[in-house]
Symmetry: T
Subunit: 148 residues, 12 copies
Amino acid sequence: MKIMVINGPNLNLLGTREPEMYGDTTLETIETRLASLAHELDVELEFVQSNSEGELIDHIHRAGTRADGIVINPAAYTHYSIAIRDALAAVSAPAVEVHMTNVHGREPFRRRSVVSAVCVGGLWGFGAATYEGALRLLVDGLNADEIS
Amino acid sequence: MKIMVINGPNLNLLGTREPEMYGDTTLETIETRLASLAHELDVELEFVQSNSEGELIDHIHRAGTRADGIVINPAAYTHYSIAIRDALAAVSAPAVEVHMTNVHGREPFRRRSVVSAVCVGGLWGFGAATYEGALRLLVDGLNADEIS
Amino acid sequence: MKIMVINGPNLNLLGTREPEMYGDTTLETIETRLASLAHELDVELEFVQSNSEGELIDHIHRAGTRADGIVINPAAYTHYSIAIRDALAAVSAPAVEVHMTNVHGREPFRRRSVVSAVCVGGLWGFGAATYEGALRLLVDGLNADEIS
Amino acid sequence: MKIMVINGPNLNLLGTREPEMYGDTTLETIETRLASLAHELDVELEFVQSNSEGELIDHIHRAGTRADGIVINPAAYTHYSIAIRDALAAVSAPAVEVHMTNVHGREPFRRRSVVSAVCVGGLWGFGAATYEGALRLLVDGLNADEIS
Amino acid sequence: MKIMVINGPNLNLLGTREPEMYGDTTLETIETRLASLAHELDVELEFVQSNSEGELIDHIHRAGTRADGIVINPAAYTHYSIAIRDALAAVSAPAVEVHMTNVHGREPFRRRSVVSAVCVGGLWGFGAATYEGALRLLVDGLNADEIS
Amino acid sequence: MKIMVINGPNLNLLGTREPEMYGDTTLETIETRLASLAHELDVELEFVQSNSEGELIDHIHRAGTRADGIVINPAAYTHYSIAIRDALAAVSAPAVEVHMTNVHGREPFRRRSVVSAVCVGGLWGFGAATYEGALRLLVDGLNADEIS
Amino acid sequence: MKIMVINGPNLNLLGTREPEMYGDTTLETIETRLASLAHELDVELEFVQSNSEGELIDHIHRAGTRADGIVINPAAYTHYSIAIRDALAAVSAPAVEVHMTNVHGREPFRRRSVVSAVCVGGLWGFGAATYEGALRLLVDGLNADEIS
Amino acid sequence: MKIMVINGPNLNLLGTREPEMYGDTTLETIETRLASLAHELDVELEFVQSNSEGELIDHIHRAGTRADGIVINPAAYTHYSIAIRDALAAVSAPAVEVHMTNVHGREPFRRRSVVSAVCVGGLWGFGAATYEGALRLLVDGLNADEIS
Amino acid sequence: MKIMVINGPNLNLLGTREPEMYGDTTLETIETRLASLAHELDVELEFVQSNSEGELIDHIHRAGTRADGIVINPAAYTHYSIAIRDALAAVSAPAVEVHMTNVHGREPFRRRSVVSAVCVGGLWGFGAATYEGALRLLVDGLNADEIS
Amino acid sequence: MKIMVINGPNLNLLGTREPEMYGDTTLETIETRLASLAHELDVELEFVQSNSEGELIDHIHRAGTRADGIVINPAAYTHYSIAIRDALAAVSAPAVEVHMTNVHGREPFRRRSVVSAVCVGGLWGFGAATYEGALRLLVDGLNADEIS
Amino acid sequence: MKIMVINGPNLNLLGTREPEMYGDTTLETIETRLASLAHELDVELEFVQSNSEGELIDHIHRAGTRADGIVINPAAYTHYSIAIRDALAAVSAPAVEVHMTNVHGREPFRRRSVVSAVCVGGLWGFGAATYEGALRLLVDGLNADEIS
Amino acid sequence: MKIMVINGPNLNLLGTREPEMYGDTTLETIETRLASLAHELDVELEFVQSNSEGELIDHIHRAGTRADGIVINPAAYTHYSIAIRDALAAVSAPAVEVHMTNVHGREPFRRRSVVSAVCVGGLWGFGAATYEGALRLLVDGLNADEIS
């Protein structure tokens, strides 16, 4: 089984970006921790990050042909990228939406997600651990044929 | 460590209520599965369910004095019970918000949660497994002192 | 055939509550008149009234197991109780929504019903007779297999 | 006693129009059933149907001079015809608003009625039987001097 | 000079319609008073009234070819008839909008006029005298070439 | 009979202010023309103009004690001065609202008047002649005891 | 194959109505050009135009029984006539919505169409040629069984 | 004279709940201080607190039969409980609405009160002293027959 | 201790202005009653009233330098004067907001206060006694160092 | 004459993406059909597709210097890309907006187009044929100098 | 060349008003710094400040006759004074809008400016230096005939 | 000191794009003028322009590591790119927002900026000179340690 982990804009700055909000864990650390969990769950991971909406769509399309599932943190694009929404709806690989912070307790515009409706599930608020929770739930769901 | 698992209105009907939406797992089964995971994680669980907003507030108050954390599925109250929101904000035990279905892909009024802002995190869309994911993330966070 | 007649908050005050709006008929009188009509229609009635949202949900759940239909006046809860809406949607017994007054000619917030979409039909504005009309239409519909 | 039964736009197509929504009963059948009930209730009926807003207003004006009450299904005009609303308010004959389907469970724009506030009462959702319920409640109310 | 005086839906009932709101002057009396003023101002009048939106549009079109100006009370159509607005914009004869009552002190939906933007001016609130004021201002403006 | 003619902010610039919108007639000319009409109608006029909301309220209060009616062009204050609205409601002298231009065909915020609901009537769009029409209708109405 | 071409309010004035907006082509010319294209496509056309909402509904009903498709320019009714929408939904003949101008670049209220959702497709902005494009696409689609 | 003092959800936690917001005074202390003032004013008090909307309604009903006035802090229910509003409107005992904090300077949803319109008056922002001010104003008003 | 009592527009008309709404107590009487209470509380009062927004701001500025607290009834300016809000926020003297009537039961625009968020507390609905309640709560709070 | 055909995000997946919505025609097939029509119309085509908003803007800029017209399906960007709107407004080549599906009958957010106002015209709902209709209308309009 | 520098309500308190927001520079210091820059740019300055909307309008009118340009900080009036907007539009001297703080990062109501549309340009967020930047850009633009 | 000057979509077309709106100055000329001012102010500049949201974010990230400040004209992205907003918030270099035209006097959607709240200041409306004003204010503020 293969899962693609897709991170959106500004997440390359994790660890230095507003650490009081996002903590000091870097994206590299998150990916290392996810790789370790993937090993435990016996799945293969592919990591991508981009600040470009178009490239993210390209990655989602690729996931559609070579991955069994998607863990995606669309970051700011969550709130307006209907193009990413359409990409997620267009591919057969199911996606889980991830947000590290409590997006519901910040600016009002962060409460709106245009992608949630086309994801199978989502998690928010647990910092770096959010990704691990997402990976575990996605893989368990795929293994149990409860997510498709 | 002790976690209180609180379920809101109509969840007592799980398994018979709109099974095409909620599946056929009963609340009892969910609680059994959670108890098993709790054993693995070495935490104690207390289960409550109520259709009454007032009783749910009473339960949250009790959690504030005798639990280390809360897993709550406020069900329909999610969308308007500012009283439950205030209860969650009033106690020191951190809470995780759980929804079994993709609330973002249903009626528009289900997209609004008045409690998210006072929870530490949330999960939605993984059916019965959503609770297990919530328990694991909450316990791990408490153990790691990342949730408080 | 058995029909449960459920009355919501403040309806226990009928006859004394704002008589210029609601008339001077008491809830007891309404129930007596309904019992008489039920006799004529050869159906059994069960009457409940509660000011508590949670108790009303409990009553709806009970109706789901021991009644063939529901006549419900959710009163003020009509306008915001998604929990009652979910309860009505969760049980198989069809429900008819009743309002004694012309809710459309009063405060704007009374024009919004969150329960109508999950009821089979509704009546408003005929005072105490509204209940009788509802009972007759519900029973006729059930008998004719046009309501299910 | 005389009641005018007024049907609005597209109701002449009943029986062929979207039968999965409106059933296969024709307007003629509804009028026949109403005539039978009128005989039982000892009232005279006059039936009109028009697709034209102006003609419907003319019919309401006529009802104001030669009928004791109105049963009206304004169909699509329900949602925007302030002219029909003003006509109903301008005549002394009380009106009952009728909708065959559950208008609250369809497109959002069907939830708004600009005429309800000037009617004495209303019924929705019981198919052809909605008209009969309306006629009975209107006639009973007029006989009991509870509607005027 | 010729002026067409166009009255919209329900104004044929003036004198009997809600006299506490509209007074007891009939449309006939208003037209007689206007005829007298027209004689004084040396202009010819043509009176039309219709409850039909389509006929009112036809009348406006006719005014476009055989009148120098229009005095129009669109009544309820004021609030939603974009078709009448387009008709007024399509003809070269300038129009004055008239309302007998204070439409701003009644229901909120009466505060919206979709036709005002394409009229040269308007008057509201002076009862039957509103028409006379409109006629005088329109004729004076046309004579002074200040309205075109 | 005495009428107070009250002009609001920026109207002192009439004749130089945006002449393509307001024409080149000065406020002085308007007052001269009104004085002439007042002579014809046998009424006394008092003219005031102020750019200050507070002074306009003071003038309205004065009108309440020494005038029989008010002709007021609140200009920009029309759209937000609830204080002027309250002043007009607080005095017994009836007021007529005047706007020289078609306020409905300009910026959307000019379509909202917070004072109309407490005036007896209003006129808009006839340039300088709007004031004369207002004076005539107000005086006629007071003479006929139709305005009070 | 027979197609009904239905034109709504004020389109009878084409050629004289606001020519800077609508051009100087008359409705007659448009119909002549359409007839020529119909000959080329080997289909029969029927032309109707009405300013009356009710008559337009009658025409749509007729199209339901004697035409294979509808080309309709609802003009101003586009923006509010739910009655015309319901008529289009009630008949089996598929309809194509036509607007000669760029309705999206004019007043905001022209951006809302209540009929689009029940049409198979639409065209806007090409002047008289819009009708020809609509006819061609509709006929081709019917011939290819891609529209039904 | 007897006054019922009714406290809503989460107020039982006063003193421990968000003390930076609500201070460290307990509900017990507030009641003691009120009892002392009641003694001074020569009135009898009855204290109730509940987290349940239904119980609060029951208490209001009781106040309607055995108290002369109500001091109520509906807490979170202030913002959505139309059922409590209806209860307050249904009983003859006048009610004063109390909020300890400046609800206008917190989250936007706290600015909306659905109960104010049916209370005789209200106070907010003075902490525990708010209750004392409310009691004094209510008792003085009842004594002076200015509140009824 | 010195308190400035500031009254906004139209309050100079108290006693004559809409007495069915505001009662027949004059502003002078209110000030006399307040002076008496001030004597009892051993504080000095300064009274100002103005219809001018600018003068009210000047008074608030003066209060900032020579008073310990402010009792203010901003009247109509409550609903839109951000300038008065900024003045209250700019001075260190705490302010209490006063409204004599139940502003929540009148026109919807009266429910919005732009100044509440920068006041320490507020009272509404007790007529002339509202001022006395405000003075007492403000002085008690200042004496107890609970307001600053 | 040269026309650039620009396709936006996710259209590269046509044929596999949600075929029940978009059909099974691939983008390649559409381009082949368009090339055939272009040959018939004697125009040259250039095809581009991109998932990137920035690249689409670059393509539009290129069209501005080397094409006579643009056929564009902005797909998801239709609903929010003001940058693409500005690009279309910035170049002199006229653009026609194309949507294969009935965007008006899907999610509400698909009803909003931010680019329509700067296009000369548009077509929606005819599947692959929509492009051909667009090309024909654009080329005919350019040849007839009716589009510029 | 002469420039009028106009400051609105509460700016007389600069230096003492909320220094954490506005800094501790007084208005006098700002004017001294501006005078120094004016000397460098060889222009004459006139300074005015008022808390009164009416006086600010009077100042703008004066600027219209004796200044070549206006630098204005309308402070709180920015957000609602259509009267000041109209004054700025009525005079020929171009105006530059100035705000010392980042009005976009504060309360939502501060994001709305009713005057921007009638100014030639604006600056915000640079504290006292904002005025100097405005003066320089205005004078340079006037000298270069790019502002008029 | 080093400043990065970032220009967003379509600004590469300056000089040819809608010159009646943006003037005929090219981006190259603006950069040349800025370079000259930078020499005078003794700072180093780096110029970038991109039509791609992702590339603009990359540039902002680079500015975060190698520049002391940012002058940015986000053009159309101003109105919806939360991703650019987050990028600006994520880097420590302060940013100044620039718009050449009066964005407040154009389409309503141009009045909304999602980036202003995270910039230190902004300027709009002075054409090419807007950039120079921004550079000067930014450099002066950095030198004076007033911007950080």
